[in-house]
Symmetry: C2
C-alpha cells in the first residue's frame, strides 16, 4: 500500500495562499474579495466538511487587503471553523430565510472596504454563486458592483503547493493499486453494479477516504458513454469495460480511468486503445512549464486524427485536478493557458473509433521544471484482457 | 438485508411531475420555467450522474407550458440524456467559455415563450444558480426579468411519490442494519478514522450505493461538534460517539444518526440521550397532515427545554429529505410549512446539555394520512453502551 500522506496543512500554507491572493488583489486594485463555494472557502480556511451537500445554508469567506480571512458562516459551523487558522468567525443562526447571512456579509464587507474600494467576486468560467439569487441581489445592491475575480482564484488554485501535491501522490497511488487489483476482482457473469461495488470497496480498502466520483460502462466490443452510472447488465465475454474514478484523500482528488476487455477484444478495439495510449505519450512529451494547454491538446489530437478518430464529445482532452475532480485549466483547441511548474493535470485523450464506440484514456501528473511527473501508474500499452 | 427497491422511475412518474409543474406555472402566470441544478434537472428528466461534481459545464432544463421538458446540455451528456424520457435534447461542445450554452439556452427559452410571456427561475431559499454569474447576466439581459419560482419547485419536491418513497424505505433500512451492526465493529483503541472507514464499508456492504455524507465525532463523556470529519483520536473507554450519515440508493438519501458510549457513560450523558429520545417521541406524536413544521419544532423544543437545554446551534430540528441530504422544509420556530401526506422528513432534536457538550438524535419518516411511518429503525430508548 501507498505510504500515507500527512493530513491537514501547516498554517504557513494558509498564510502563503492568503498573501499571494492579497498581492494579486492589490495588483488589480481590489481591496476585498469574497467567496461562497466549498473549494474556495476550504482554500482560504482549511474548513473541510461534507456538510456543503446540504443546500440550506450559505457560507462566506471575506479576504481583506491584509490580515487573515474572515469567516461569515452559520453557527453550526462555528466549532469546526474555530479549529482552523481563522480567528475572526462571525455566525448567524441559519437557516433564517428572511436574512440568511446577508446583513452579516454586507456589514463585514463594509467594515473591511473603504467607501470607494473595489470588491471582487468570482463570476467567470467554472464558478458560480452558491447562495439564493434573491439574496445575492441584496448584497449587490448594497455595493453597486462587484469585480470579477475569477482570474485571481483560478491562478491561485491552478498551481499546487508541495503539501497539496503529496495528497495527490497518495490518492493516485492508492487508486493505481486498486486498478491493478481489478483483474482479480472482476469476472464475466457479474453485473455492472456488482463490478462497481467491488471496485469502490477495493479503493476504500486500499486507503482512499472516499470515492465521490465513479462512472463507467460495459458493452459488447465497445462503450458508447463514459459518464454513466452502472446498470444491471451482466458482463459477458467480449465486453469492453471502462472505469473512471475521482477518489479522495484529505479532500484532494485523483481522476483517471482504465479500460479492460473480457476474454477477448477485436483488433479495432485494441487499435483504438493503442491510439489513445500513444496520444497520451504525445501529451506527456509536450507537458512542461511554458507549454500551453492548446499545445497539449494539439499534440494528442494529432495522434487521434492520424488514427481515424471520428471525434470526441468530451470537449477537451484533460484538465486541472485538485480539491475538485476537475478544475481549471482545460486542454482545448483554444484554451491557451500557459503551463506552470506544480500544476496538477490530467491528460485525457478520447476518440470515437467506430459509430457509437468511444475510448478514453486518462493519466494524472504534476508538472515539474523539466516535464511531467506521473501521479497515476501508467496504463498498460496494450488493452488488458481479463 | 433489506428487500431491494426498484431502480429508476416509470415514465408516468416524470409525466406526473411535469404536469403538476405546468399546472402550477399556469396558476402563477408563468409560460416557461428553467432550472440548472442537479436535483432539479434529475427531477424533470431522470438524468443521474456524479458528473455534476465537475464545475466546468452548466446544464439546463427548460419546462415549457405543455409537453415534455427540453434538455440544453453539454454534448458529453447527450448519450445518457437520450436514455431518459426526454425527446428534445440540445447540446453544445462544452467547455466553450466564450459561450457555454448561453446562446442555446436563450434561443430555447425564446422559442417556447411568447414575447411577453413570463419565465420562472428558482431564486429563493435553498436554491442557487449553477452557472457563472457573468453568463447568467447575459441570459437575464435577453429577457429583462425572471420570476422567482422557488415555491413551485419546493412544493413539487417536498411531497414524494410512491416510487420515491420505496427508495427511501430501502436506504433507511440498509443504514439501520449497518447501525445495528456497529457494536460488533467498533472497539476502544481504534482511531476515529478507522471507525469511520469501518462504518462506511459496512453501509456499502449492506447495500447502499454510496455514502456521500458521513460525519461524526468522539469525545470523553461528550461531543462538541456534529459536522466534523474524523481525526486520528483514539477511542477510549468513557467516550461518547456520534455517527450521522446520508447514504444513498438510486440517488435518494437516508439521513439519520446514532449515539453510542464506550464502556460507560455518566448519568448526565444518559439523561441528555433520553431527553432527545423523548423529544423525538413528542415530534412523532405531532406529525400528521395539517400540522406545521413549527408545531413539530415546538413539540420537540418543549421537551428539550424541560430537560435543561442550553440551546442548539443547528438552527432547526429536522428537515425534508429526498434527492439531497437536506431539503425543504425546516422544522424551525417560524417556518410554518403545513405538513402534507407523503412528505419525507427527518426529526432532529438536539441540545447542548453541558457547556461544549451536544447531543443530537435523528429519525427519518414518511408522512401518512394518519401520522408518521418511520423509515429509520427507531433508536434505542437508552444510550447504547458498547
Amino acid at each position: 500500500m501507498a505510504h500515507k500522506a500527512r493530513r491537514g496543512f501547516s498554517n504557513q500554507e494558509f498564510e502563503n495562499r492568503t498573501r499571494r491572493c492579497q498581492a494579486m488583489m492589490a495588483n488589480q486594485g481590489l481591496e476585498t474579495l469574497w467567496v461562497c463555494t466549498e473549494p474556495e472557502v476550504r482554500y482560504f480556511t482549511g474548513f473541510h466538511t461534507p456538510f456543503w451537500q446540504s443546500p440550506t445554508r450559505p457560507w462566506f469567506v471575506v479576504v481583506p487587503s491584509s490580515g487573515k480571512p474572515i469567516a461569515v458562516i452559520p453557527s453550526i459551523g462555528a466549532s469546526s471553523m474555530s479549529s482552523t487558522w481563522v480567528d475572526d468567525i462571525r455566525t448567524w443562526p441559519a437557516p433564517q430565510p428572511e436574512d440568511d447571512g446577508v446583513t452579516l456579509l454586507i456589514d463585514c464587507l463594509k467594515e473591511v472596504t473603504t467607501p470607494d474600494g473595489r470588491i471582487g467576486l468570482p463570476m467567470g468560467p467554472e464558478t458560480h454563486v452558491r447562495m439564493p439569487l434573491r439574496d445575492y441581489a441584496k448584497v449587490r445592491a448594497a455595493f453597486g458592483e462587484f469585480f470579477d475575480s475569477t482570474e485571481i482564484i483560478r491562478s491561485l488554485r491552478m498551481v499546487k503547493s508541495d503539501e497539496e501535491i503529496t495528497k495527490h501522490q497518495y490518492i493516485c497511488s492508492v487508486v493505481s493499486d486498486a486498478f491493478d487489483a481489478l483483474p482479480g476482482i472482476l469476472n464475466t457473469g457479474m453485473t455492472e453494479r456488482q463490478a462497481f461495488a467491488s471496485f469502490r470497496a477495493e479503493i476504500l480498502r486500499q486507503g482512499a477516504d472516499d470515492v465521490p466520483y465513479l462512472v463507467g460502462a460495459t458493452g459488447p466490443g465497445g462503450i458508447d458513454d463514459i459518464i454513466r452510472q452502472p446498470s444491471d447488465r451482466i458482463i459477458a465475454q467480449g465486453d469492453l469495460l471502462i472505469f473512471d474514478t475521482g477518489s479522495t484523500f484529505d479532500g484532494y482528488f485523483s481522476d483517471f480511468d482504465r479500460n479492460f476487455a473480457f476474454a477477448s477484444a477485436d483488433q479495432s478495439a485494441q487499435d483504438a486503445y493503442k491510439a489513445v495510449w500513444d496520444a497520451t505519450e504525445a501529451g506527456l512529451a509536450i507537458v512542461k512549464p511554458g507549454a500551453t494547454t492548446t499545445q497539449i491538446f494539439n499534440a494528442m489530437n494529432d495522434v487521434l486524427m492520424k488514427n481515424g478518430s471520428l471525434g470526441n464529445n468530451v470537449g477537451r482532452m484533460g484538465h486541472g485536478l485538485g480539491m475538485q475532480v476537475t478544475e481549471w485549466p482545460s486542454h482545448t483547441i483554444d484554451d491557451e493557458t500557459p503551463i506552470e511548474e506544480n500544476m496538477v493535470l490530467t491528460l485525457e485523450p478520447g476518440l470515437e473509433w467506430a459509430p457509437g464506440k468511444v475510448m478514453v484514456h486518462e493519466e494524472n501528473l504534476v508538472v515539474r521544471s523539466t516535464g511531467p511527473e506521473l501521479l497515476s501508474r501508467r496504463a498498460a500499452e496494450k488493452l488488458p484482457i481479463i
